[in-house]
Point group: none
Chain length 208, copies 4
């Protein structure tokens, strides 16, 4: 069976060499996004990095948006695993919960750094393509829903909207990584400790 030309990889049956080439393109795209940002990345940037010809790119992806979609699907799947992990964070709000929160934030941080080139354009990508937009929106919603549930469980009635607070937490974590990079400062242990303390105090810690 022949592979149709000009059709995104998802519709083709790939052998091992094909799968490898596709991965090389995805990896090269991450490098290119990192260097120049998604918007400024040209197909030629990607194929240059991957040491391939122009034509090969279009054997695997219909265009750059299509490639970004593939990366987005992967990143979204990894991100939603954080939702499951969130369940464990505050099962107990005893002394152990802060450590669990710290660990979770550490996981989030690792994920962000791994997909940083993509996450920087994450929301812009949503505007470029409806299917991507929906998936990204869902990923955010899933995450905030998970956090909102935990906040509700802690139960500080009245003074916090769990849904709003959850969005604020995600917003802070996401943008914090971006800004640290932007102003040229690291996201190190001290930073993560401070974030943990802030979030803990803001939404999880008991009020006096």
């Amino acid at each position: 069976m022949e592979a149709p030309i000009g059709v995104p990889a998802s519709k083709r049956v790939l052998r091992s060499q094909g799968r490898q080439t596709m991965q090389r393109l995805l990896d090269a795209a991450m490098v290119a996004f990192d260097r120049r940002g998604y918007h400024a990345t040209r197909v030629s940037d990607v194929v240059d990095i991957a040491h391939m010809s122009h034509g090969t790119f279009y054997l695997y992806f219909a265009n750059m948006t299509d490639l970004a979609r593939a990366l987005t699907i992967e990143a979204a799947a990894d991100t939603s695993m954080l939702y499951d992990a969130m369940a464990e964070v505050s099962t107990a709000l005893d002394g152990g919960s802060r450590e669990r929160l710290r660990a979770w934030i550490g996981d989030y941080s690792k994920l962000w750094l791994r997909y940083a080139p993509l996450f920087r354009s994450w929301t812009d990508l949503a505007a470029a393509d409806e299917s991507m937009g929906e998936r990204i929106r869902q990923t955010f919603t899933t995450l905030t829903d998970g956090i909102a549930t935990r906040i509700s469980a802690v139960g500080r009635p009245g003074d916090l909207s769990p849904e709003v607070a959850a969005t604020a937490v995600v917003a802070m974590l996401d943008r914090f990584h971006y800004l640290r990079d932007f102003i040229g400062r690291p996201v190190d242990d001290e930073a993560l400790e401070t974030l943990t303390t802030m979030i803990h105090r803001a939404v999880f810690a008991p009020v006096d």
Copy 2:
């Protein structure tokens, strides 16, 4: 004094009609950024919205970056006024401080909404032009420095890095507005109250 031809408006002396045309272009650009984002906005989008010809655009701006620079300068000036306002927030950490924080957050929110189309691409703009990048970075730094100073003033020794916490606060405020819009929920009074409570607890409230 002769106004040079073919040079961006900032270098030309404009009469009343000229100033008006320039403003129409700036307004149109904000509309265009709002619709498609800065990166996807073409010169033709702006002139279409402003009901002008391509040629006119280049009478006032050297290119899109030049126009964005003009908007950035305006937004940066307005933003740095928030820095001064921050000084009042926690001069006294008595009972009045939460209300002052709430008012300050309200001001921030108004500013964000006013420049929303620009702020969405705010950090990306930095990459487009070095002078813009420097100004945007400075704006962020000014703001976080101001907040960091207040946090230090509150004095919760050891457990929070003021500089990190300040960045986290700015990150949260900035991205919160973005995400609310993205997931289609409002930034209303309840939302601002929740944000205020969270920030107050996280960095300003006394610890037991």
Copy 3:
């Protein structure tokens, strides 16, 4: 009011210079079609002949199909004028009718030769674009309907289907011009006389 870029000319308001440029493109396209046929004609062929840049082409037409559509509309309008002329052909089937038929066939021939480069690809064009297909189909139908009505008027009951005969007449006239060109022989006066005699005998002349 500004002309949107990349939008077919039909949607733009053109001044005299613009209209002239558009006509130059249409003329150049006819020359190119004549030289290489519609299918083999590239945008660069047309702009080379018209002595223009690539970009200018797209200021007036979205693509080659769009340009062909404009020519088709013109040719279809001219062709349907032959329908009206057909009305006069056999108002009287007295001795004068053969001369009228001869004149009409002469008109058809002139029209065909004028649009020859287009008519050669006429039916193929129909496959390339649905709106063009519909217009071409309509043109053929209009013409055959007109002829069928005249054939019915002559009234040779039973032995000829007017609708079929009309299609056969159009088919003969159309393809005859094509084939004469193909085998390198002229469509001269003798040829037109023979065609007239054949058509007259086949469908209009009284049977003994």
Copy 4:
């Protein structure tokens, strides 16, 4: 004897499996021509329909023109058999000749429908390749020569150019099939009867 590699099939010695694969490609090409026309048909269309890889195509044909040539040779051979059949049509112009003409037109019609996808692009193919062009031109010439000879034999001196009339007959028959398909009407028995009557009256029937 060794079969050369990478050379069009006509030069290779094929075994049974090879002949079968080649036939699948020829059949697939006819399907593709029928769907999209010769010009719009891509190698990938053909191999998709034949469920083969690109590589296999080039094992049998040097390119699409080469494949079209193979089909053309077959169609030309079948068509020239009609030339021989024409000889019988009017050996006698007695009462039997109309029935013979009717039968011949029926044969022509069957042939056209069989090769319809090819005949639609028949004359255009001539431009693609000189050897094909010559063969197609010859086929037309042979056919019209045959018909012209019969017309001369009938002898209606002066009022018809046999050569022109013969071309007109072929033109009508060829294009009639095309147009009937194009306007969505059948070439049925009534149609063929009408065609027969028209041609008979136009060129073969005695004049009063």
